[in-house]
């Protein structure tokens, strides 16, 4: 593989890990908010809490690992094509380059999020609220090293990018957390458990619809600025990758819509719940590939830049 292509693989891999971690954190925080008003048996409730705490730990770990993967990837993309990557070169990129200045914000917040994770795991009463705040700040700092910074008026596109990321995190992340938690309800094998799960799924469905709408609007605005004209969708590498992303989003949303309109109203027995699990799994697998395509897309040149 050519060095430049390898550089893009590293950069996209680092961004993909970041997305996975952020989506996991967002999902845990979002699902916990959904669960709180629902009356659930204490033994199941405590197991759900433990599951969400584990999800937070793994997601936070992914975000921190991704911070350093991205630093290495950026260093490789700058220097690695001409010479071996050394610690000194990593230092130059991380602490002297413009990219590094923005990366430091995100890295600092990622490390501080560990404190919030510890608070959550030690069941500090401010833990989940603190984690929510840090998760939002992580999304706020992520676009600082991306395409949005290329434009003269960066604030609008930065805000749109943040909205896009948070909406994706709420949709995919909450779905993933719900999928994990659902197994606890189904293992309990009681009608009460199925009822609680159905209530949670209905609450999630309303939230997911809002998230998908925000995703659509922010996606259209971003595409408008980054593409320049519709014909770039098929003429330009960035446009073709964006077309693939749009296809995956529609496919994922279609499965979600099927779940919402057909499966969720029938969630009163175990066979319907199993059907929903299979559908959720398909939605999540598509979501993983969607994040891969997005991770590559954000490292390609926008047609608007090429003129």
């Amino acid at each position: 593989m050519e060095a430049e292509a390898l550089s893009l693989v590293y950069l996209a891999f680092g961004k993909w890990l970041t997305y996975l971690g952020l989506v996991g954190l967002t999902g845990a925080v979002s699902l916990r908010q959904l669960i709180r008003p629902v009356q659930i048996a204490p033994q199941i409730s405590s197991r759900i809490e433990q599951l969400l705490q584990s999800l937070v730990s793994y997601a936070n770990g992914l975000v921190i690992a991704a911070v350093f993967v991205r630093l290495y990837a950026q260093t490789f993309s700058v220097f690695g094509l001409d010479e071996p990557v050394t610690l000194e070169l990593v230092r130059v990129v991380g602490f002297e380059s413009r990219w590094g200045g923005q990366w430091q914000f995100h890295a600092a917040v990622a490390i501080l999020t560990s404190l919030a994770t510890v608070m959550v795991r030690s069941q500090n009463r401010l833990g989940w609220n603190t984690l929510t705040v840090f998760t939002v700040i992580l999304w706020l700092t992520l676009p600082l090293t991306g395409h949005a910074m290329s434009f003269v008026d960066t604030s609008l596109l930065w805000a749109v990018q943040v909205g896009h990321g948070v909406a994706a995190g709420v949709w995919m992340g909450t779905l993933f957390a719900l999928f994990l938690v659902g197994s606890l309800f189904c293992a309990a094998e009681s009608q009460d458990s199925l009822t609680w799960f159905a209530t949670l799924v209905r609450r999630f469905s309303r939230r997911a619809i809002c998230a998908v709408m925000i995703l659509g609007v922010t996606g259209i605005v971003t595409s408008w600025f980054y593409l320049g004209s519709v014909e770039h969708l098929w003429r330009d590498p960035y446009g073709r990758m964006l077309s693939l992303k749009i296809f995956l989003v529609f496919s994922t949303a279609l499965i979600g819509a099927y779940n919402w309109r057909y499966l969720v109203p029938r969630l009163n027995n175990s066979s319907a719940t199993c059907g929903l699990f299979s559908s959720m799994r398909a939605e999540l697998i598509l979501g993983v590939f969607l994040l891969v395509v997005t991770a590559v897309l954000v490292h390609l040149a926008m047609p608007a830049e090429m003129g």
């Binding site: 593989m1 050519e2 700058v78 380059s97 413009r98 590939f289 590559v296 830049e305 090429m306």
Partner: protein
């Protein structure tokens, strides 16, 4: 013992599935990256111009971009018939250009300028352009 071996089989299958899934993601990543390379920042103009035929050695090399180059990682290199030609330090100017002085008089021949920089979005760009020095006599 039957229960333990069943559990071990189950976790082995989960590990295999996770590994297969991860492998698929890496393959997809690689395929997408190999087939979709492109550049980001644009070069507006160069001095000397690309393909120029000069009758005397240039005093400096300068490349103008559409975004302000990142000083920490920017670099200009000059290659001639006898290999690398010494240049002064690469500096960034307010007019969004990179400039480096040519340390010594260039002899007649073909030269290639290679540049590396990054714009506001941090994406590293590389490129080159060529010129010829052919003294008037």
């Amino acid at each position: 013992m039957v229960v333990r071996s069943e559990k071990r089989k189950g976790s082995d299958m989960s590990l295999k599935r996770a590994g297969l899934g991860f492998g698929c993601v890496l393959c997809l990543l690689s395929v997408l990256c190999v087939t979709t390379l492109w550049a980001h920042m644009r070069v507006q103009k160069t001095m000397p111009e690309d393909g120029a035929r000069l009758t005397s050695s240039p005093h400096h090399i300068q490349v103008w971009y559409t975004q302000l180059p990142d000083n920490a990682i920017s670099q200009l290199l000059l290659e001639g018939v006898d290999g690398d030609v010494s240049l002064g330090d690469t500096t960034v100017k307010e007019d969004k250009s990179l400039v480096a002085t040519v340390s010594s008089e260039l002899v007649d021949g073909n030269y290639t300028v290679k540049w590396r920089t990054a714009g506001d979005d941090g994406h590293t760009q590389r490129g080159d352009f060529a010129f010829t020095v052919r003294s008037a006599d």
